[in-house]
Structure formats: structure tokens, C-alpha cells
């Protein structure tokens, strides 16, 4: 544990905020257990990805400025999402003219920003978590976390330290689940096809729990699994690492 407690601003993400606060609280627990002081900047809303990926650069830029301002002064910005963290790390600097104050600030925030499992393992050097979670699980690599931030071993390493979790790798864990933000509602047919393939691979593992690090992908896969009547439980990685098995799985009754 570091000598001084790092001051972490939790970037809740818009989906966790509205749909699944339990992921946010799991994140807070993990960070506090690792010795961080966690705060939640009030002015945060969304990282701006929906606008950015829809070609609305101006609104995306405005939202980026909002996040940059909201997280000024924190040692780190940590998000329970590779997608939002990837947006901040890889794309915020693209909005601003190199050499400008905004650009410097964007770069500075990018350097301070981390997805939660990679923050725990890479920055805080956490090797294990103290948690129990009974699950035979398979892990889906969300695209942005994997390909923008290179997160692959980090969640698996932490998950394998959870008492009760056994991990089974699925075929094509690194292939997109068909979420893609607005893509999944604009092209439901293609999204469905991608989901079908993903779910075939999930089912083939025999796992009873599906884990991933991004709520968008999780809601997409959980929605499909439940529509199909599957009993597979769907969880965010932070919830499992925090040992929160009391909160009902995604898309399931209380």
C-alpha cells in the first residue's frame, strides 16, 4: 500500500450512475480497500462517447471540457469501464490544438486516468483482493479496454484471487459482443447475430456467470441471455472483486 493515500476521483460513468449504482459502490470499496481516498466529483455526467461516435465533435468536446474541469486536482481518475477510460485517455487529447492549454490539460488528465482493474494492478500493484464470490465464471474482454488500453490479464488476475471464483476461458473472448453504443439499436439484426455467436461461446464453457468490465456490453449480453431464458448470471467485474453477491445480477429480479 502506498505511504500516502492517493486521492481518486471516481468517474462513475453514465450507465453505472443510472442503471447500476452497485458497480460504483463496488469500485469505491475496491479503491478504499487499496488505500485510496475516493471522491465523486459532482459535475461529471458522461464522457461524451455517444456524441463523439455519432460524429458530433462539438458536443463531445464540450463534454470533455466538463470532465477535465470536474477532475482537476485529483491524483487519479478511475472508471469502472475500459470504454470511458479509453475515451479520456485516447481521444480527449484529439479534441484540442496541440500546444493549447486545453490540450495540455487533456493530456494531463489522460495520464491520470485508469480503468479500475488496471489501476489496481498496474498503479497500486494490488495482487489479490480479499473477497468471496461463489461463481464458475467466464470473462468477456470488452473491446475498448482490450484494444485501446491493453487490458487483458488484469481482471483475470484479480478475479482468480477471489475465493470461490473459478474462471473458464471462452472461445473468441476478445470478439465484440455487438453492443457498440448506438450501433446496437441502429442495426439490431447485425447486433443480434454477433450476440448469438458470443452467447454460443459463453454457453459452451458451462460457466454459470458471465463477467465483463463494461456495463454497456453487460447490459447487451444480459438482455439477450434473459430474452433467451438463460440462467447464466451477468456481473460487472467490480462487483465480483468486491464480493457483492447480494445485489441481483444484471437484468434479474430482486
Amino acid at each position: 500500500m502506498p505511504e500516502t493515500s492517493p486521492r481518486v476521483g471516481l468517474f462513475v460513468t453514465c450507465l453505472v450512475d443510472m442503471f447500476r449504482p452497485s458497480v460504483g459502490f463496488a469500485g469505491v470499496k475496491l479503491l478504499e480497500d487499496a488505500g485510496c481516498t475516493v471522491e465523486v466529483p459532482e459535475a461529471q455526467t458522461c464522457c461524451g462517447q455517444p456524441a463523439y461516435n455519432s460524429g458530433d465533435r462539438e458536443d463531445a468536446r464540450a463534454l470533455a471540457l466538463n470532465v477535465i474541469a470536474a477532475f482537476r486536482g485529483y491524483d487519479y481518475l478511475v472508471a469502472p469501464s475500459g470504454s470511458c477510460a479509453g475515451m479520456i485517455v485516447k481521444h480527449y487529447p484529439e479534441f484540442f490544438e496541440p500546444g493549447s492549454t486545453e490540450h495540455d490539460e487533456a493530456l494531463d488528465l489522460a495520464r491520470r486516468t485508469h480503468e479500475i482493474t488496471s489501476f489496481l494492478t498496474r498503479v497500486l500493484k494490488v495482487e489479490t483482493v480479499k473477497a468471496q464470490f461463489p461463481a464458475c465464471a467466464t470473462y468477456h474482454d470488452s473491446c475498448s479496454g482490450l484494444r485501446e488500453l491493453g487490458i487483458r490479464n488484469e481482471p483475470r488476475k484479480l478475479l482468480s484471487s477471489v475465493e470461490g471464483v473459478s474462471l473458464r476461458e471462452m472461445t473468441d473472448a476478445e470478439v465484440c459482443c455487438g453492443f457498440g453504443g448506438t450501433f446496437c439499436v441502429k442495426y439490431p439484426g447485425i447486433s443480434d447475430k454477433m450476440l448469438e455467436k458470443k452467447i454460443r461461446h459463453i454457453e459452451a464453457t458451462g460457466a454459470d456467470t458471465l463477467i465483463a468490465g463494461d456495463l454497456g456490453c453487460l447490459m447487451n449480453m444480459a438482455g439477450k441471455l434473459k430474452r433467451m431464458g438463460s440462467a447464466i448470471k451477468v456481473r460487472h467485474v467490480a462487483e465480483v472483486l468486491a464480493g457483492d453477491y447480494e445485489t441481483p445480477p444484471i437484468a434479474e429480479a430482486k
Binding site: 443510472m18 460504483g24 456524441a51 458536443d59 484494444r147 457498440g180 447486433s191
Partner: protein
């Protein structure tokens, strides 16, 4: 040839998803290509560094393209070849036709050429009384079917063997009905026999070009079947169709890019036949074409230079991005509606036909990033797709409902206090509607979601509400 249907993408997708034969053919396509590439990459420790160099070579060429084109042209002329410049598909077609007419050509054989598809050459030749015969097996099959290629390097990858057999039986009238064509080698042998006679009879052979070498005035083709070589060696006239970005400086530079091409495409270390052609028959040559012509096509490529889209011109048409694309693997190549399918097609097509004619293509991506990850030329495909979306946004080409919805959302998201209140209300309403079941079958304005999957309900209060309560 079918008409361009890029703007009918959604209809094309519905058809593709309902096409059992296509879906069957596509099931194995991606995984096989991917496994082969992975193996080839792992067997060559220098692979990723070669990709960097390949990218740098092309960037250098694009920054000096005018000079490389002039240098190349001079060299081709020096070796007795002819260079024809074509701004448009019309120009290119006219140049080909003129060469064929001068040669009194009745039949031309053709090696695989995406440029030929781009300029719709076969139709033009047929209309002018010249019979084009595709000789790449996949191209031959789709020519029989009057289709476009569904893949850049595997044109008939969307078909199954029984479909091919049916086409051969329909067209090859000499075929004995009793002859067994159920196995793939029998189909290949049948095509070999038919096409061998075409090579020998053709007056003109047309090929594409994978590279043009400025140093020597050389065009390079890469094949596995040997069809390109028979096409260009046996007839009296060889025509090379190439676009202007195919230039590389030297043989060494071509070699470097060749090292990543086959590995990325088919997972081979090197293709079976890599052929370097420089001019026509020399004194003492007992075989080979008498005349050698190169058509240099622009067709919109110069408009891409110097823009945020320039990197697309590095593409060497290996098809790796198609093979690794979950969207391509779900719908196949024809859904994209024109010549270049898959991720790179969704970048290139709007540049060549206009974004207003290809509105869906840049949107039909989850930005999963696998294309960029495997591109041997390190083309940032998702970034370019996003740039096209920006163009669509600027020009109001997106559906009004989406524009309106996102506009309202962004307006609210820029006002944190309002956003807090709005999300708290939305979360509560949706949670109540779920009646404790944790999910919804239907949600207003979210038909695209609930059409195929349930909608996970919010837990009730927002994180920010709960956080405030906890701190109190």
C-alpha cells in the same frame, strides 16, 4: 453486374441474415482466416516491426506521390511499355477498349483486379463485343453468377460447393450429367480445363497490380493459382489496371510490404506466385506479351490526399480487416453494396462514391478496433469511420430521430444539475415499470433494443443520489 446498393444497406443486411446458405458459408470463414494469420504472425518474430516499416514506406510515397508517378511513368516508357492516365472509370474503360480494339481482340482473359470491379469493366467490354473471362477461380464463379466479389481476396467465399456445382452445370454445357462434381477438387479440375483453353485463345490479358515499382517501372501481381501469369504471358497484349496509390519506391520496399501481405491475407508466408512485370517481350524472348500497357486510375483518390482520410491510401487490399470484422462475418460482403466490403470498404467507398451514397457504411461498426489491430499497414480504420460520421453529422445526413435524440441528450448532459434530476427521474420510472423483475420487454423509443433483447432495468436510485445519501 448488380447495381450499387450501398444505401440499401439495411435491406441488404436483412437479406443476408435470412440467407441460410450465406450464413453457413460465413460460419467458418472468419475463424479459418484468423487462425491462419495468427499462425503466420507467430512464426515471424519481426512481423510487427515489418508492419511499421510497411506503413512508413507508403507514407513516404504518398508524401511524394507526384514525383513517384512521374519517375515510374518514365521508367515504364523506357522499357517500351505504355502508360495511360485515367481520371475516371470512363477514362479507364475507354483506354482498355481502345487497346483491345487495336489488337482486334475478341476475347480477353482477366486476372483478379479490384480496379476492374471498381470501373465495372466487364460490362463495358461485353457491350462492345469483347468477351471478358475471369480466370481467378473465385472471380470466374461470381462472373458466372453475375455477382460482385463478396471478399477482396476470396471473391466467392459466400458460396458453398453445391452452389458452384449448380453454376458449372448450368454454364458448362459439355458436362456429363453423370460426372461427380460433389467434391471440391473435381470442381477445381473442371474450371482448370475450361479456363486453360481460354488462356490459349485470348487476345489480351488484363491483370491488376498489387504494387508499382518506381525504381524499375515494374508492376507486381500476387496470386496462388497461377491464373494471373497465364493471363499475362500467353496473349499478345498485357494490360495492367492500377490505381495511383500502388506506387512503392524500390524492389526492397516492395519486398518488405510483400512480407506482410500474404501473412495478413491468407496466412501464407509468401503467395505461390509473385510476378514482376516490366514492359513487353524483349529481343530473344520466346514467349510473353508483345505489348505492355498500364492504366493509372485516380477515381477520387487524389481528393483524399492531404485530408484526414489519407491513410486509407496505404491499403494493400489484403482483406485482414474483413476476416477479423464481426460485422462483416455476420452479413458477408454483398451487404455493403459495392466493390469494397468490410471495414476498409466502409472507409474507401464513401471516398469514391460520395458519403451521401454510402451513409450507412461508416455507421455499421461497433468500433471494436480489431480491424486496426490486424491491419498490416496500420490504417486507423475506426478513426476514419468516425471522421465519416462527422461528415454525415455536418451535412445532416443522419436520420432526424437520431440527431434529435442525441441533441437533447447532449444538451442535458452539458448541464450537470439538470442531468442529475433527469437521470434520477428516468431511473425511477424505468425501475418502477420493471415491477421488480429487473428487466423490461418493451421500452418507449428503444424498439431497436427490445426487438432482440430484454432491457435491463435500473436499480432504482442513481449512484449520485445514493452517494449523497451515504455522505449525509
Amino acid at each position: 453486374m448488380t447495381e450499387m446498393s450501398t444505401n440499401a444497406f439495411k435491406d441488404n443486411v436483412s437479406k443476408a441474415l435470412a440467407d441460410d446458405k450465406l450464413q453457413f458459408a460465413m460460419t467458418e470463414t472468419g475463424p479459418r482466416f484468423i487462425a491462419k494469420r495468427t499462425k503466420a504472425r507467430e512464426a515471424l518474430p519481426e512481423f510487427d516491426r515489418l508492419r511499421d516499416q510497411a506503413r512508413d514506406i507508403k507514407d513516404h510515397v504518398l508524401d511524394h506521390l507526384d514525383i513517384y508517378l512521374e519517375t515510374y511513368e518514365a521508367k515504364v516508357k523506357e522499357t517500351g511499355g505504355h502508360v495511360h492516365w485515367a481520371e475516371t472509370p470512363d477514362d479507364a474503360r475507354a483506354a482498355v477498349l481502345e487497346i483491345c480494339r487495336k489488337a482486334n481482340a475478341k476475347m480477353v482473359t482477366k486476372g483478379k483486379s479490384m480496379i476492374s470491379e471498381e470501373i465495372d469493366l466487364n460490362k463495358h467490354l461485353e457491350e462492345n463485343g469483347i468477351t471478358p473471362v475471369e480466370t481467378d477461380l473465385g472471380e470466374y464463379i461470381i462472373q458466372l453468377r453475375n455477382e460482385r466479389p463478396s471478399h477482396i481476396i476470396a471473391p466467392a467465399v459466400h458460396l458453398t460447393r453445391d452452389q458452384v456445382e449448380a453454376d458449372f452445370r448450368r454454364v458448362h454445357t459439355h458436362l456429363d450429367p453423370k460426372r461427380d462434381l460433389t467434391e471440391i477438387p473435381a470442381l477445381v479440375e473442371e474450371a482448370r480445363g475450361v479456363l486453360r483453353q481460354k488462356y490459349l485463345a485470348a487476345d489480351v490479358g488484363i491483370t491488376g497490380a498489387n504494387f508499382l515499382v518506381a525504381e524499375t517501372g515494374t508492376s507486381i501481381i500476387v496470386t496462388n493459382e497461377g491464373n494471373g501469369d497465364l493471363t499475362q504471358t500467353l496473349p499478345r497484349v498485357h494490360i495492367v489496371l492500377a490505381s495511383i496509390e500502388k506506387l512503392v519506391p524500390t524492389l526492397e520496399d516492395a519486398t518488405t510490404i510483400l512480407r506482410v501481405l500474404a501473412r495478413s491475407a491468407t496466412g501464407q508466408d509468401f503467395s505461390n506466385y509473385t510476378t514482376f512485370s516490366t514492359g513487353g517481350r524483349r529481343e530473344g524472348d520466346p514467349d510473353g506479351p508483345i505489348e505492355y500497357h498500364v492504366i493509372l486510375l485516380d477515381n477520387g483518390r487524389t481528393n483524399v490526399l492531404g485530408t484526414e482520410f489519407q491513410d486509407m491510401l496505404r491499403c494493400i487490399r489484403c482483406g485482414a480487416c474483413l476476416n477479423h470484422c464481426p460485422v462483416y462475418n455476420a452479413v458477408g460482403g454483398h451487404a455493403y453494396g459495392w466493390v469494397y466490403p468490410g471495414p476498409i470498404g466502409s472507409v474507401v467507398t464513401p471516398a469514391l462514391v460520395g458519403i451521401e451514397n454510402a451513409r450507412h457504411l461508416p455507421n455499421a461498426s461497433t468500433f471494436c478496433g480489431r480491424c486496426e489491430e490486424v491491419c498490416p499497414m496500420r490504417i486507423p480504420i475506426p478513426k476514419m469511420l468516425r471522421h465519416w460520421r462527422e461528415k454525415e453529422f455536418e451535412r445532416h445526413l443522419q436520420p432526424a430521430s437520431m440527431r434529435w435524440g442525441l441533441g437533447v441528450w447532449a444538451w442535458v448532459a452539458k448541464r450537470p444539475k439538470l442531468y442529475r434530476r433527469a437521470t434520477a427521474i428516468a431511473a425511477r420510472v424505468l425501475a418502477n415499470q420493471a415491477h421488480g423483475k429487473g428487466r423490461l420487454k418493451k421500452v418507449p423509443l428503444a424498439a431497436g433494443w427490445t426487438e432482440i433483447r430484454d432491457f435491463p432495468a435500473p436499480q432504482g436510485k442513481t449512484f449520485h443520489q445514493l452517494w449523497k445519501e451515504r455522505r449525509r
